[in-house]
Symmetry: C2
Subunit: 123 residues, 2 copies
DNA sequence: CCGCATCCCTACGGATACTG
DNA sequence: CAGTATCCGTAGGGATGCGG
C-alpha cells in the first residue's frame, strides 16, 4: 500500500477520496508514537523480551507514574501490549509487547542507534 | 555507547553520574522527534532525495504553515536540514536533508511501513 | 506495590493577518 | 511564495493523594 499524502501530485488525485479513513488511522498511529515517552517506553520494553513490571518500566523510562500509566494504557488500547495482573500482595502487574509491537523492534533499534550517535557527536 | 537508563540496574549504577549530559542530549532528540508532524516531515523529505520547497512540504505533510515552519526551523537548528533561499520573485526556498538526517532514512522507512500495515489491518 | 482520579498549569498547535 | 507575529484554546504532562 502507498500513502497518498506522501506521493507526488498526479497519482494522489485519484486515491484521495478513497482511503480517507486509512489516512486517519495512520495519523492516529503517528500521534500515538509522538506522545511523550512513547518511543522510550517501546524501546525499553523491546530491549527485554520478558514481561516487565510497572515500576521497572517507570524507572527505565524515567517519567511520572501518571505518564507511564497513560502510555501503557494507550498501547493496550491499540493492541500493542498486554496487561496481566497477579493477585499477590502487594500487587504485581506485568506488561508484555504483542507480536505486532515486536515487529517494530528493528526500526526502533536503528532509530535509537542514530539518536545515540548524534547525542554523542554533539558533546 | 550504551544508554544508562535502558540498562539493567547493576551496570547503570556506575555510569549514572558520568553521562548525565548525554542523557540530556538524547532526551532532546527524542523530544524533537516527538513533536507533531516531525516524523511525517522527515519521512516526506526522505522520500525524495531532491531539495524540496516549502509549500510542497506543507502540502504533503498536511499541516499549517506555522507548524511546518516551526518543524523546519527546529530541524535546521539541529543541523538536520539546510535551507537555501533564492532571490527570485516570488521567493523560492529549498530545504534539503543533511547526510546526518539521511542516515535516519532506513529507520523511518521501516517504521512507516509498520504504521501502514497496522493502519490497513485495523480497517 | 500498582495505578487511577483530580487539579493545575504550561506549552504546543492552529487560525488569522500581515510583510518581503 | 515563504514565512513571522500574535492570539487563543486545548491537550497533555506532572504532583499529589487515595484505593485496590
Amino acid at each position: 500500500m502507498l500513502l497518498v499524502r506522501y506521493m507526488s501530485q498526479e497519482q494522489s488525485q485519484r486515491m484521495q477520496s478513497m482511503c480517507e479513513s486509512a489516512k486517519a488511522h495512520v495519523d492516529d498511529l503517528l500521534v500515538l508514537l509522538s506522545k511523550s515517552k512513547m518511543l522510550s517506553t517501546l524501546y525499553v520494553m523491546n530491549c527485554d523480551p520478558d514481561p516487565m513490571r510497572f515500576s521497572e518500566i517507570k524507572k527505565r523510562v524515567d517519567s511520572s507514574s501518571t505518564t507511564v500509566a497513560r502510555r501503557l494504557g494507550e498501547l493496550e488500547d491499540h493492541g500493542l501490549v498486554t496487561r496481566t495482573a497477579y493477585a499477590t500482595v502487594p500487587a504485581t502487574v506485568e506488561y508484555a509487547l504483542t507480536k505486532d509491537a515486536i515487529a517494530l523492534q528493528p526500526s526502533l533499534e536503528s532509530m535509537f542507534e542514530w539518536v545515540l550517535n548524534r547525542a554523542d557527536s554533539s558533546l
